[in-house]
Amino acid sequence: MRDERARSVPTAIKILVAGGFGAGKTTMVGNVSEIMPLHTEEVLTSAGTDADDLSGVEAKRTTTVTMDFGRITIGDSAVLYLFGTPGQDRFWFLWDELAIGALGAVVLADTRRLADSFPSIDYFERRGIPFVVAVNCFHGHQPFEVDAVRGALSLDPDVPVVMCDVRDRRSGREVLVTLIEHVRSITMGPAHSAVAGA
């Protein structure tokens, strides 16, 4: 299925934006990229049927899940695609497809509900997907230090933890830079030189 026009396909980079409900995933994807809604229809699993009362609606066995999906075009050579993972655990089955081929992930954490980010962290740790934890300070002053958050989440020492404000485009994009630098350090070893221009 190769085609002459293959040369015109940019490098497509998939990045996941995860975190608990209300952690700011939609805000972040919307502020750093050109956001588009993406609908998926999935057959409800038994886990899903517990939550939805389907009695009397026998034909309805699927549910529509809308994901946050965004694109950042980098010149002619690369396009970043951001996918906001569904915030509700019962849509876990969507993650496996989302995770395939992902360069890495951002786990947004809200210190008022830190435990909400555990499922995302577990997921990426188990699959060996590089991730950074971005503590969203959108509700004003962030009373916790990075080290306290790292300890509370039992993170490996090499997992970056950064403070951010997802309402701010620059702050959100800097989180993505942190993730890509993290991927580079994993690939090339920690001695690689950081890209200048910070």
Binding site: D3, R5, P10, A12, E42, E58, R61, V177, I180, G197
Partner: protein, 129 residues
């Protein structure tokens, strides 16, 4: 719609699973033959696809063909068309069978990390765009 309805289609048996509205346009198929269409697979309409425009394609097929005049990722195609991803995959499989679209080889093999110069360009782009 259930298999034991009086007017049930013969192809719609218990094996076929439940049928829902969106999948009516796909003939009830929930998955294409192969998982050819990753979210970030790029597809593009072929000249043959443009010529066969008016023949036995459904409006949904034509909508996808129109959006795929230039190479476009499956995820973007789904978003722009407003069709659920699963539906788009089935329709694309039809178009692929017809030779109306072709899949483009990805710039980086799936599961591989892009070259470092690309990652550096992305970092600079994120900071300065």
């Amino acid at each position: 719609m259930r298999a034991d309805d009086d007017d049930a289609h013969e192809w719609l048996d218990a094996e076929a699973g439940p049928l829902v509205r969106s999948y009516a346009v796909t003939g009830g198929r929930a998955r294409p033959g192969a998982s050819t269409f990753d979210l970030l697979t790029y597809v593009v309409g072929t000249p043959a696809g443009q010529r066969r425009h008016a023949v036995h394609l459904q409006p949904e097929h034509r909508a996808l063909l129109a959006l795929a005049a230039e190479p476009i990722s499956v995820a973007e195609l789904s978003s722009r068309a407003g069709f659920a991803l699963g539906v788009v995959r089935v329709l694309l499989a039809d178009l692929l069978d017809e030779g109306a679209v072709t899949c483009l080889a990805p710039a980086v093999a799936p599961g591989h990390i892009p070259d470092d110069h690309i990652l550096q360009a992305v970092i600079l782009g994120l900071r300065h765009a």
